[in-house]
């Protein structure tokens, strides 16, 4: 048993690699700070566009959303980070990762917010309009506050997915938590940093999973 601990939870190795892992954790946090607000922002734009557009516009938007969703997130990420330089555009790595993952996750936020808007009865629209509110004012003051509340568990669920998604950044050499754990593993030839990183992800995300359950959320998210 002690051999097991020496191999997988070696205190010396974990102490020595903690600096690297903390730097990686900070990069992961930065990626989340781009992807989650960015995804919410563009997702909200998408949901509003689908709500306000005429039928043909909403239909083409839904095809566009499905086209983006047909890409595995890693493929989208690799395509953007390794493809853009051929167009002469070379964003800093963190920004490239942020763009790719924001594109992916905003389609999910968008669908969730749209479901929230659609969950409000048409009579709410009619009542609000009859008091003299315009379309945008109705959305802002009447529809969105109720609609967002209805889909809060799903929004939290997608935020969990977005945070998990940032681990992909390690594949395109962004020095995030997972990447740094691999580096530390290579340096010490010991898997403890990797186990520590996995435990860190768990420590960060398990509370979020519990919160989602408390909100009544399910793993029933779109693909």
């Amino acid at each position: 048993m002690s051999e097991f601990f020496q191999t997988f939870l070696n205190p010396g190795v974990m102490a020595e690699s903690s600096g690297l892992l903390l730097r990686g954790l900070w990069v992961t946090v930065q990626a989340c700070l781009i992807v989650v607000p960015g995804g919410l922002f563009f997702g909200a734009g998408l949901a509003l566009a689908q709500t306000l557009a005429p039928a043909w516009g909403a239909r083409s938007l839904s095809w566009g959303v499905d086209l983006i969703r047909a890409f595995p997130p890693l493929v989208l990420l690799v395509l953007i980070v390794h493809g853009l330089p051929f167009l002469g555009i070379e964003p800093p790595p963190l920004l490239g990762v942020g763009i790719a993952l924001t594109i992916n996750t905003s389609t999910y936020y968008g669908e969730i917010l749209r479901a929230g808007i659609l969950s409000i009865e048409p009579t709410q629209w009619e009542a609000a309009r009859s008091t003299g509110l315009g379309t945008m004012a109705t959305l802002r003051h009447v529809i969105l506050p109720q609609g967002v509340r209805n889909v809060l568990p799903d929004l939290a669920g997608n935020t969990l997915e977005a945070v998990k998604l940032t681990s992909l950044a390690s594949v395109v050499a962004l020095p995030d938590l997972l990447r740094m754990a691999r580096v530390a593993q290579g340096v010490h030839f010991n898997p403890s940093p990797l186990i520590l990183a996995a435990l860190l992800y768990l420590a960060l995300l398990w509370p979020l999973v519990r919160l989602i359950r408390r909100l009544g959320g399910r793993a029933v998210l779109p693909a």
């Binding site: 969703r69 595995p72 890693l74 493929v75 998990k164 997972l178």
Partner: protein, 222 residues
């Protein structure tokens, strides 16, 4: 612009990507089958032990679902492939990806089946038991068929997500579509193979994503 559709490079990449499609499909289908089976077995065990003295087992199953929902699939894959050998467990890239994707899908599938089972009215259980069916029979013939109907749309979506996640296996050198494209890209310094791979993924998954959307409106879960 021409560099993105370099015919020579595309021709060089095509055979590899074709064999990659086979690997992608093989990995996707086996991990989806294993994950759904695992989820169904766990949810069944949890349902049949409900209220019994073996209740802690249900708690363990719920904890498993939580842990694998919190763990990014790529982190799990990397741990299985790069850390497990230190414990004497040498998995091939394909096996590591199969186990990782199967465990992650198993956790969502368990949660989805469990939600379906608990949504079936208690009266259905009681009525079935009162006709003389055993617990197992009541579950299999009365509760499960009603529960499965509700699980189809979310389960389809999780299965599609698992199929897309097979691209992660490229990280542990499984020669699936993305891995094949990336290796030709590295040799030729051209983005064309990546675009070809992207096209393959769209051709594979766009119809599935549309079907998933159709199922959601059809069964009107919300």
């Amino acid at each position: 612009m021409r560099i993105f559709f370099d015919a020579e490079v595309l021709a060089a990449a095509w055979p590899g990507i074709c064999s990659g499609i086979g690997v992608t499909l093989g990995l996707a289908l086996t991990s989806i089958a294993a994950g759904v089976a695992l989820g169904l077995v766990l949810a069944t065990v949890r349902a049949l032990l409900r209220g019994a003295p073996l209740r802690p087992v249900g708690g363990l199953i719920a904890a498993y679902a939580d842990v694998f929902r919190a763990m990014p699939p790529l982190v799990l894959l990397v741990v299985l492939y790069f850390a497990a050998p230190f414990a004497g467990i040498e998995l091939s890239g394909f096996m590591a990806a199969f186990v990782a994707l199967g465990l992650v899908l198993g956790a969502s599938a368990e949660e989805i089946f469990w939600a379906g089972i608990t949504s079936v009215n208690r009266g259905q259980w009681e009525a079935a038991l009162s006709t003389g069916l055993s617990r197992g029979e009541a579950f299999r013939r009365v509760v499960l068929p009603q529960a499965v109907r509700l699980t189809i749309p979310p389960l389809t979506n999780r299965a599609i997500a698992t199929g897309k996640n097979t691209a992660l296996a490229s990280v542990v050198a499984v020669p699936e579509v993305l891995n094949q494209a990336a290796s030709v890209q590295a040799q030729t310094a051209s983005p064309a193979p990546l675009l070809l791979a992207a096209g393959v993924y769209v051709a594979l998954f766009l119809p599935l994503v549309r079907i998933g959307r159709w199922l959601e409106t059809r069964f009107h879960i919300r």
